[in-house]
């Protein structure tokens, strides 16, 4: 097949990508550099919209806080979701007969919309009617019956843990596939040489899982930075209570659609651009590091 035929086959997808992804992205990017009066574009504003994000209320307080929450979301998800995910995948790997069924079971919650998940957990954790606190009180753990979503100290972690609960099937599947790709001969050879189970995992299996761990980490990073639906379902667009479940995407949503500010399009586009640069930059840097690492192992 020559290049032109190749081009012919690529064109439809490319056109769709261009119209529905690239074009809106580039326009949003350009919007960030203009003055706006409602939907009417004014003159070129340079970096004014960007400096507003760092100098003007409410951004001066909301943006750093939202960013911190995104980072905590990433760290929390990495620590909890991906370690539990790897453990579960490892345990499932050895259960040949029930593996499929259990994998499906673990993946079940992510078939449900995050909005529904958030709403259901809000009901479960409600301090007035919620069964969770009723149950805790009944079994004598009254001091544990906290206002889970009403206290800034617990609200963010509830969001993170529910997200972990919803998405746990994802690392289980990816690690499961990666474990399936580790040649049995290598572990066997290690065991013949007298390595214990723990040693085999640490010295043989784990290093071969590094590419998968890398992929999962990058995807988790993107996922955590874009977090929107679940926090929105839990705390609304303002990150209730008192901004303790605020995220950058929520701040964007508030700025663009809730504030009613006349320059909303400019500042929100600037924020979107910033978020894109952050995600793209982070993901690109992480991938570059991982590639180098992979080359070292395969070399």
């Amino acid at each position: 097949m020559n290049r032109r035929t190749g081009l012919l086959f690529v064109t439809p997808a490319l056109a769709l990508f261009g119209v529905f992804v690239l074009y809106p992205m580039v326009t949003a990017f350009s919007y960030a550099f203009y003055d706006w009066q409602g939907t009417a574009r004014g003159g070129f504003a340079g970096l004014e919209n960007f400096t507003a994000l760092f100098t003007r209320a409410p951004f001066t307080t909301d943006l750093p806080r939202a960013l911190l929450h995104n980072v905590l979301f990433f760290v929390g998800t990495m620590l909890v979701q991906n370690t539990i995910g790897l453990t579960v995948a490892f345990l499932l790997h050895r259960r040949v007969r029930t593996r499929r069924a259990l994998q499906t079971l673990y993946a079940m919650p992510y078939l449900v919309s995050p909005i529904v998940i958030g709403y259901l957990w809000t009901l479960l954790l409600s301090p007035t009617f919620g069964p969770v606190n009723t149950l805790l009180t009944k079994v004598g753990l009254e001091s544990w019956a906290l206002p889970w979503l009403g206290d800034p100290d617990t609200a963010l972690w509830v969001v993170i843990l529910v997200s972990v609960w919803q998405w746990i099937g994802f690392p289980v599947l990816l690690y499961g596939a990666a474990l399936g790709g580790v040649p049995e001969e290598l572990s066997e050879a290690a065991r013949v040489d007298g390595a214990s189970h723990a040693q085999t995992f640490r010295r043989v299996t784990f290093p071969l899982l590094v590419p998968a761990i890398g992929t999962v980490s990058v995807l988790t990073f993107i996922f955590a930075m874009e977090a929107f639906a679940l926090p929105y379902a839990f705390g609304g667009s303002t990150g209730n209570p008192a901004g303790s479940t605020d995220f950058i995407s929520l701040l964007f949503y508030r700025t663009a659609f809730d504030s009613g500010a006349t320059d909303a399009i400019g500042t929100s586009s600037a924020l979107a651009t910033l978020l894109f640069v952050l995600i793209f930059g982070g993901a690109y840097a992480a991938t570059a590091v991982l590639r180098r690492h992979e080359r070292r192992i395969t070399a």
């Binding site: 409410p58 303002t238 209570p241 500010a261």
Partner: protein, 428 residues
């Protein structure tokens, strides 16, 4: 050579086809001339009122032969986006329902609306209501207000009489009533502080009289006072004082939970807005709901009375790109008549913005009467949403911090003040 050319032509055609597809994908048609008549499209975020508006516009169509009004509601949470896109392009409605006060300004600034001065007469209307329809910059009227909303304290009439509690007329009686319910294991005040947007309303209901209602608005908008004023700080403190009468862990209670507490007979009073009435009635159709004004808390400025704070909502305007501006303006002019106002009261079951409308629902009637007698503007919405951060956002979050104990009333008021003063300019 020939095959190559034809191939690249196919590629080109394919590409162009996709582009053409994309270009005509998501659009909705606006009104057009069908034969000899004109179709006016009206956009709204009130999906639940579709049947009521269809009835209302039938009345208009009868008296205006040749005009068909097509009422098209969208999901409320998506509406701002849809309307902004519609007005920016050429597929917008002839008559859009628009937001009020500060939230109207973006649409006005974009030049999307036709000024209606000299076309509609709002001179006999409540000043606070008319302000909702104006552009802040030029002071022109850009819309016709539809409804008045008011903050109210709903109460369960049967629960009051069963427990021998009278509707309080002094602050001491109000506190005594709360104590009575608390002792009987009934939540006195159903508040859902998890939803920050409800808290400025709760503050208005419970403490509007403490800071002095309409008098305070005048002082603040003219620059004579600000939100660090001792009376305002004391009004925020009232929320903290009343916290013990609200559900436990109040910042974890959603407003829907608070409403359920009230409609299921677990709470005696619910501070909210007149727009909540329909939901409460649906929640428990058997319940006898009353409304009252909270008496001024101790220490209130002399002469302060209980007050019903109100604002206008759901205004209708004329799209400046509409091909039927004349017909659209005529429709909007009709929306300022008592005939339309009465239809809104009867069919949409809201307090009409048009003066002189009568109400068959006793609760709506009382709210309208209370507002006419001792009304005041819901200050943070009517005057402090013209910039970001908005007054309502700041007090909502601040009140949560107050309940959580992380900030005191003074800090909350100071932060509210410094937030809005970044953009607010007093009138004198």
């Amino acid at each position: 050579m020939t095959t190559r050319t034809s191939r690249s032509r196919i590629a080109l055609a394919l590409g162009a086809g996709v582009l053409a597809l994309a270009a005509c994908a998501p659009s909705s048609s606006s009104g057009g001339d069908d034969g000899d008549g004109t179709t006016l499209t009206v956009w709204s975020w009130r999906v639940e009122d579709k049947a009521a508006y269809d009835k209302i516009f039938d009345v208009y169509e009868k008296s205006h032969p040749g005009v068909t009004v097509d009422f098209k509601p969208f999901k409320a949470t998506e509406y701002n986006k849809i309307l902004a896109t519609g007005l920016a392009g050429k597929d917008g409605p002839d008559v859009p329902q628009v937001r009020s006060y500060g939230q109207l300004q973006g649409t006005v600034a974009a030049g999307s609306l036709v000024p209606l001065d000299g076309k509609v007469d709002l001179s006999s209307w409540d000043e606070n209501v008319v302000a909702s329809a104006k552009g802040k910059e030029d002071g022109k009227i850009y819309s016709v207000p539809l409804a008045r909303q008011a903050t109210v304290l709903f109460y369960d009439k049967k629960m009051f009489s069963d427990n021998g509690v009278q509707v309080p007329t002094t602050w001491d009686q109000f506190i005594a009533a709360n104590e009575t319910f608390l002792k009987k294991g009934i939540t006195p005040l159903a508040v859902g502080a998890k939803d920050d947007w409800t808290l400025p309303i709760v503050h208005e209901v419970l403490a509007g009289a403490r800071f002095g209602g309409a008098d305070f608005q005048e002082a603040v908008t003219s620059g004579a006072k600000d939100f660090t004023d001792p009376d305002f700080v004391a009004s925020v403190e009232v929320l903290k004082q009343l916290e013990k009468y609200m559900p436990k862990s109040v910042t974890g209670v959603a407003v829907t939970d608070a409403m359920t507490l009230f409609t299921s007979g677990k709470a005696a009073m619910y501070p909210g807005g007149s727009y909540d009435l329909a939901t409460l009635q649906k929640g428990n159709p058997e319940m006898e709901i009353g409304v009252m004004q909270v008496p001024p808390a101790s220490g209130a400025p002399s002469g302060a009375t209980g007050t019903t704070a109100g604002w206008a909502d759901g205004n209708f305007a004329v799209n400046s790109k509409s091909p039927h501006q004349e017909e659209a303006t005529e429709l909007v002019t009709w929306m300022a008549t008592p005939e339309f106002g009465q239809l809104v009261a009867d069919e949409v079951k809201q307090i009409s913005a048009v003066p002189g409308v009568t109400y068959s629902d006793p609760v709506l009637k009382q709210v309208a009467d209370d507002y006419d007698k001792t009304g005041s503007p819901y200050l943070l919405l009517t005057d402090f949403r013209y910039g970001t951060p908005t007054g309502t956002d700041l007090l909502g979050k601040g009140a949560q911090e107050l309940f959580l104990g992380s900030k005191d009333a003074k800090t909350v008021s100071t932060e509210l003040n410094s937030g809005v003063m970044t953009w607010f300019e007093p009138t004198s």
